[in-house]
Amino acid sequence: MWKNVYEWLDERLGLNDLYKNLLDRPEPKGNWWNTLGSAALFLFILQGVTGIFLTVYYTPSPDHAYDSINYIMNGVAFGWLIRGIHHWGATLMVVVVFIHMLRVFVTASFKYPRELTWLIGIGLFLVTLGMGFTGYLLPWNQQSYWATTVGTQIAGSVPFIGDFILKVLRGGSDLSALTLQRFFSAHIWMLPAALAGLIGVHLYLIIKHGESNFPSKED
């Protein structure tokens, strides 16, 4: 019975091919440092899941953002856990992505034939920092408000186009409801979409070229 179901599905989905091409691949002898990439992926998924749950109650408006987070922390069952994981997950994700990058740098895994994987990885690192920066404003408390004021100011110090960048980021010359709205939009749509796309290419390249081996004197 189960065999029939599996065969029916396999005929249509190509499960055997998937298994052969994705899972049953040879890899160089493993190393614990090589798990950091998948750990970053896991954190991305975890951030996505907890983030989706948070949007159920979170309201991106200056009048309600603070209270909605307060409600998540005190009123919603296990809201504190979801937000706690999202908060600390952000920190951990930056750490894990950074150490992952250091590992790739030290083992020179970015060299032929994995140059593109590295380039996309740098993009992933920057977008991750962007996620941290935009997410920091969303609780709309003193800390986030003033940190974003200074952060956008720094972005506005670019010569010639700085003023334009500042206005694009803030949606005007000052921090306002518009800033919160566009940081929210960037945090839950634009940056995650970019992140997911880049992760897709990153993963394809890893499967294509395989994990790099840990360099020995021969390399």
């Binding site: 298994y19 994705l22 899972l23 049953d24 691949r25 890899e27 160089p28 002898k29 493993g30 090589n34 798990t35 998948s38 750990a39 896991f42 975890l46 200056p62 307060n70 922390m73 005190n74 937000r83 706690g84 994981i85 600390w88 920190t91 951990l92 950074f98 740098f105 030290v106 083992t107 020179a108 970015f110 060299k111 032929y112 034939p113 994995r114 590295w118 740098i122 920057l126 920092l129 941290g132 920091y136 003193q142 800390q143 408000y145 003033w146 940190a147 200074v150 952060g151 720094i154 972005a155 670019v158 010569p159 700085g162 921090l175 994990e211 081996n213 360099p215 004197k217 021969e218 390399d219």
Partner: protein, 475 residues
């Protein structure tokens, strides 16, 4: 890279694959263990450390010191250090855009810059040493991010030391490493590693020194009321300090009495449905923030020169709603101070401070008519006042105790006149509170809970505990 090298690399990888493992289950197994560990760690962090509550946004509060997410702190510190450089420090975009942009560009183009096909560390001393120096620098900049560059008395020393640790040493070391590789050429690997190591040790040591010699200024952690109960209590405390003088502790005053400059002024009772039904929360908050200049009410919001933040005002409004508005049902509030067990000695921190805040501080703060008796801190309660000391440890006839018991103090020169009225002026303290004060004064007025605990007597069961606390005053 020529085809021959590429083939060599591919062949070598092929060999590694043959003596390697399977992606499933070998590699995935390790990945799952690490991910599971991270998940458990996150749950622990969320449960045991949690997320700090922060005060509500207050754009008018320009005294707030901005602090970015911790992983941007090193950039913040870098900017602060850079800003001290004469002339160059004024060109802000060099540090905010040019340097970080260049670093990221170099990092991104690493595969095209580092064209040496070797992957073994021994053959890549330069890139690894430079990266190590940068990483140590980033960590150290993060660690010393909270130390200001200028001390309170204007000394530039901490800034200069930070610049040496966070900028000069790493930069010199990196330049040296490049010179060794491209100019001197014959430098041994050992020398390069030593250069990197010494620069890292110097950076770490100097950072330690900066942290040891220049303490991080203490930031005042304000407790943020997040639950309704806490918000109401916080609001009541704020109301007691800021509003009671004119509006009375129950908000029903319609004619101000005993306030200089506003004597006899007629005001609406703020606990009435007239006020509470017609003004919504936002309007009430607005009135508190902006005041009613035509009615003599000064602005209380920070934006208009007062003392209260938006969070504070919000809490006062919450307190008013849940206390006087009959459409709202107040939750069960916490007691003002934890009830005393038999033999327990009250302390300033736990018992006296909240009582004083609720009943006394409104008038006994700077700038009010109060015979210069200030009650905002432990030391002030003990030492200030025209008739100081108003409290003496172990003295049952302390002025403070007498007046809250309802006995005015007569003027020693003219016994028919009262020098100090019974306190509080409109109303009287509950016997419970008077008892707390009495126990506190008679037991030596301990400040902290630990001090009080030392003085407390635990009633021994069976020994006929009478509940009388130790009455031996400690001088």
């Amino acid at each position: 890279m020529d085809n021959e090298t590429k083939q060599k690399i591919n062949k070598r990888y092929e060999r590694e694959l043959n003596r390697g493992e399977r992606f499933w289950p070998d590699s995935i197994f390790k990945d799952l263990i690490v991910s599971l560990g991270i998940f458990v760690l996150l749950i622990m962090l969320a449960t045991f450390i949690g997320v700090d509550a922060q005060p509500r946004v207050d754009p008018s509060d320009t005294t707030y010191i901005p602090r970015p997410e911790w992983y941007f702190l090193f950039l913040f510190k870098f900017l602060a250090i850079y800003g001290q450089i004469p002339v160059l420090g004024k060109i802000e975009w060099l540090a905010t855009v040019a340097v970080p942009g260049l670093v990221i560009l170099v990092l991104a183009l690493m595969p095209f810059i580092d064209r040496n096909p070797n992957r073994y560390y021994g053959k890549r001393v330069l890139p690894i040493s430079v990266m190590a120096i940068i990483v140590v620098d980033i960590v150290m900049l993060t660690i010393m991010a909270d130390v200001p560059t200028v001390t309170e008395n204007g000394s530039m020393l901490p800034g200069i030391l930070q610049a040496i640790a966070g900028m000069v040493i790493p930069l010199v070391a990196i330049i040296l490493l490049f010179l060794m590789t491209f100019v001197f050429r014959k430098t041994s690997t050992k020398t390069m590693i030593w250069t990197a190591a010494i620069s890292a040790i110097l950076t770490i040591g100097l950072t330690g020194g900066v942290l040891a010699w220049f303490p991080v200024p203490a930031t005042t952690e304000t407790a943020v009321a997040t639950t309704l109960v806490d918000q109401i209590s916080a609001g009541q405390d704020l109301y007691s300090v800021n509003c009671v003088e004119c509006h009375g502790d129950d908000g029903k005053v319609t004619k101000i009495e005993g306030v200089k400059g506003l004597e006899g002024k007629l005001i609406p009772a703020i606990n009435s449905t007239d006020v509470l039904y017609t003004l919504d929360d936002a309007t009430l908050a607005e009135v508190i923030a902006y005041g009613r200049p035509e009615a003599g009410m000064t602005p209380f919001g920070k934006a208009y020169g007062g003392q209260l933040s938006t969070s504070d005002i919000e809490n006062i409004v919450t307190f008013m709603r849940y206390t006087w508005d009959d459409r709202f049902e107040a939750p069960k509030l916490k007691p003002l101070y934890p009830p005393l067990a038999a033999g327990e000695v009250p302390s300033y921190d736990v018992h006296i401070a909240p009582i004083v805040k609720r009943y006394c501080l409104s008038c006994h703060q700077a700038g009010k008519q109060n015979n210069n008796y200030l009650m905002d801190t432990y030391d002030d309660i003990l030492k200030t006042g025209d008739q100081a000391p108003n409290v003496t440890a172990g003295d049952e006839n302390s002025t403070l105790l007498k007046v809250i018991e309802g006995t005015p103090i007569p003027d020693p020169k003219d016994p028919t006149q009262t020098l100090i009225r019974a306190m509080p002026p409109n109303g009287h303290m509950s016997p419970d509170i008077i008892n707390v004060f009495k126990l506190w004064i008679m037991n030596g007025m301990p400040q902290t809970a630990e001090d009080a605990a030392k003085l407390s007597v635990t009633p021994t069961p069976g020994a006929g505990s009478t509940g009388t606390p130790a009455t031996t005053p400690t001088p």
